[in-house]
Amino acid sequence: MTARMKNKIEILDLSVRFGDAVALQGVTLNIAENEILSIIGPANSGKSTLLMAINRMIERVTNATVEGSVLLGGQDVAAIRDVQELRRRIGMVYAMPIPLPMSIRDNILFGPRLVRRLRKSASDDLVEQTLVASYLWDEVKDRLDSSAVKLSGGQQQRLCIARTLAVGPEVIMFDEPCSGLDPISTAKVEEAMKELKARHTLILVTNNTKQAARVGDRTAFLLMGKLIEVDDTNKIFTAPGDKRTEDYVTGKFG
């Protein structure tokens, strides 16, 4: 399926160093439009670094040097003058749910309010729409003005997804979004991801190979900063091309 679809993100020979430590080494990888690409690999294999290079959050790290390029819809992200615009186009959901200490509504409107004032009706619509998409609406529709910090961990994470959706991203990156969640919350988050695929391109970094198998259309395996292989998820988990991938997905290490 991959070759037939249009590429949303093209990563070309990307290398990242933090000082002298190499975090990513010559990674070349395409992510097709409206697919979920899972990225798996043991700790320190460069998964999060890859995400940070895509939305240029890596520029906030002092000693990071980036070589190679990342294209978003054919355009080099390094050439995008307005990095804020890039980050609105590529949303990010972090490992730990990080609700800002404000109301549920204000959390969702945080992003949109950075660029424009919203009328009440427009903001109400946006809040509902994003909460529905993140499978949280039914649980919080009666207390939109109560503190987001009071929600459970799973609800907070879905709120973070809604907050990311509110800025209207084309791509959404999840960095181990379920690492702190119970199985039921995890299922809800995964459900939301599968729905989101219809209108977004998703990148899912996960430590949980089973999760990658459940949600990913394709799966990429990173090891020590190198891309070992990327293929259809089924293939990666049943007949991987590389011995190291096989060892990892069958739980021999990592």
Partner: protein, 280 residues
């Protein structure tokens, strides 16, 4: 021989309680001493009349006005400047030789005796810039004195805000300035305000700087370029020169009440603000 943990626990609890109790007792004693000695001489006339006969008679209205104006000038300059510097240090630079040097300098300044700031203000504002002994010279010197405190507290308060908040805000498309104003400052505000309140307190209680730079005129100031005395200076002169013990105590009582009122108002405001935010 080892002392059993249950005993060390008891000893620790008793000594910590005692330490805390003596700290509170000292505070209560000092405040009580001044209020008991002073409040009985505080009348409406004392608060609203000019200083007569060098303070033997009349009230302290000029000193009250002098105090308010000088603190306003000092904090009006030191708070924005200090908070801006703190934002720069905490959010706009990378940690390195330069910031370490700046921070070292600030820490040194915070430890400089106030009399030095008085001398500095006298030379720079009173003499070189020709402001003379005036509220403006006094206010500027006080500002220089409280600036390090405000910068340090504000910077620490901002650093205490979780790094995550900054990442989230940036990932949602916030510029650095928006990160500061929307994801850092709101949550650092209590700490930042604490620094400002400390600054207000120090400006009100300061005598050395004020005597050097604002003089000690007893007349009601008519502009910021007039000399004036603050309540602290008034108290100092009354007590030091044995002019009137009763009026000295009364002035001290008013001074303490002022500081209490400022603190209580500031903390209530802050509490409301934070509660409102959490509920929101």
């Amino acid at each position: 021989m080892r002392i059993p943990p249950s005993i060390t626990q008891k000893i620790a609890k008793i000594s910590l309680t005692l330490a805390c109790a003596s700290a509170v007792a000292a505070l209560v004693f000092v405040i009580g001493f001044v209020l008991v000695g002073g409040l009985k001489h505080v009348t409406w006339a004392f608060l609203t009349e000019p200083i007569l006969d060098m303070g033997r008679a009349g009230g302290i209205l000029p000193a009250i006005v002098g105090t308010i104006l000088m603190v306003f000038v000092a904090i009006g300059i030191a708070a924005p400047l200090g908070i801006a510097s703190a934002i720069y240090l905490a959010e706009y630079t990378q940690e390195g030789k330069v910031t370490q040097t700046i921070r070292f300098g600030i820490n040194c300044l915070a430890g400089v005796p106030s009399i030095i700031f008085g001398l500095f203000g006298f030379i720079l504002f009173v003499v070189m810039l020709g402001f003379g002994w005036s509220i403006i010279s006094g206010g500027l010197s006080l500002a220089a004195m409280v600036l390090p405190t405000i910068i340090r507290t504000a910077e620490e308060a901002m650093r205490a805000v979780p790094r995550n908040y900054r990442d989230v805000a940036a990932s949602l498309g916030a510029t650095r300035w928006q990160v500061v104003t929307r994801a850092v400052l709101p949550y650092a505000l209590p700490g930042v305000l604490t620094g400002v309140i400390l600054g207000i307190g120090r400006s009100i209680e300061e005598t050395a700087v004020v005597i050097f730079t604002a003089g000690s005129a007893v007349q009601m100031p008519r502009s910021l370029f007039d000399s004036a005395r603050t309540m602290s200076v008034h108290f100092y002169i009354l007590a030091r020169e044995g002019i009137s013990n009763d009026n000295a105590y009364a002035t001290a009582a008013v001074l303490i009440c002022t500081i209490l009122v400022i603190n209580i108002t500031a903390y209530t405001m802050m509490h409301r603000l934070m509660r409102g935010r959490r509920a929101a």
